[in-house]
């Protein structure tokens, strides 16, 4: 795909990559420093980032806008680029938004499976996850409940609805 793409990246607290532990040079009022990948191989090397539609799969504590450059590969659930730099933290992804997102997942699950005996337990589970602040599993459980009731396409549709909610709430733009 084209270079100079704006995408998004979920990180743990302190701009730390969840899987590698890499601490990203944070953007403080301006773009952070470029980070170059030694190789470009999905899940092994490269700067990994999300389109809006990928966001619900990779939820974490901090959400950042990231600029990707050089060779960029577009995969099913992510983008992988030769280099990238953080542009700004999406400040709207805060405790209030995380809770509102979990409530969104809860509402949809209640409507879909709240009266289905073998699946209604998902509603209570998601409410518990919300209270515990475990947003990623709340979102996953909502998609799983949808899948169990209506099949794999419903899982994908639920993830799309979650992505749409995040984009609308946080004012994210779909650049790809």
């Amino acid at each position: 795909v084209e270079t100079g793409v704006i995408a998004y990246k979920f990180l743990d607290e302190g701009a730390v990559a969840p899987f590698t532990g890499f601490r990203w040079p944070a953007a403080n009022g301006g773009p952070g420093e470029w980070s170059e990948a030694s190789s470009l191989e999905p899940c092994r090397g490269g700067v990994h980032a999300c389109r809006v539609r990928d966001l619900p799969i990779w939820l974490a504590r901090e959400l950042w806008e990231i600029e990707l450059d050089g060779e960029i590969r577009e995969l099913d659930r992510k983008l992988v680029a030769a280099r990238g730099r953080l542009l700004r933290r999406v400040e709207g992804w805060d405790d209030a938004s995380r809770d509102a997102f979990a409530r969104f997942c809860l509402r949809r699950t209640r409507l879909r499976v709240g009266s289905v005996p073998v699946l209604s337990g998902f509603v209570g589970d998601i409410e518990d996850f919300r209270i515990q602040g475990r947003i990623a599993i709340a979102a996953f459980a909502a998609a799983r409940a949808a899948e169990l009731r209506d099949g794999p396409a419903a899982y994908d549709a639920e993830r799309r609805a979650q992505a749409d909610w995040l984009a609308a709430r946080l004012g994210l733009e779909q650049h790809l």
Binding site: L59, F140, P152
Partner: protein, 82 residues
């Protein structure tokens, strides 16, 4: 992740060493990491494994007290795969 690509917690535990040794295929790494995003238990387990490897990496044979060395050797010699 969808059921057709889901890894269970038991599978994640079995794959932890391969993940840390970068021996999984990219597709399996993605499934593994997708699981970690929502599973606190497996994330904790992975972190414990990382720490264990880091700590034991610095151990030398001489660092073990003889009594502990003996107990470990006994345990290993008595161990049989299930």
């Amino acid at each position: 992740m969808r059921l057709d690509r889901e890894l269970t917690c038991a599978q994640v535990v079995e794959l932890v060493t391969a993940y840390l040794e970068r021996a999984l295929s990219p597709a399996d790494v993605e499934r593994f990491e997708e699981h970690l995003v929502f599973c606190d238990g497996c994330s904790n387990y992975l972190e414990q494994m990382r720490l264990t490897i880091e700590v034991t990496h610095h151990l030398r044979e001489d660092d073990l007290p003889p009594a502990l060395q003996e107990r470990l050797l006994e345990a290993f010699s008595a161990w049989r795969p299930a």
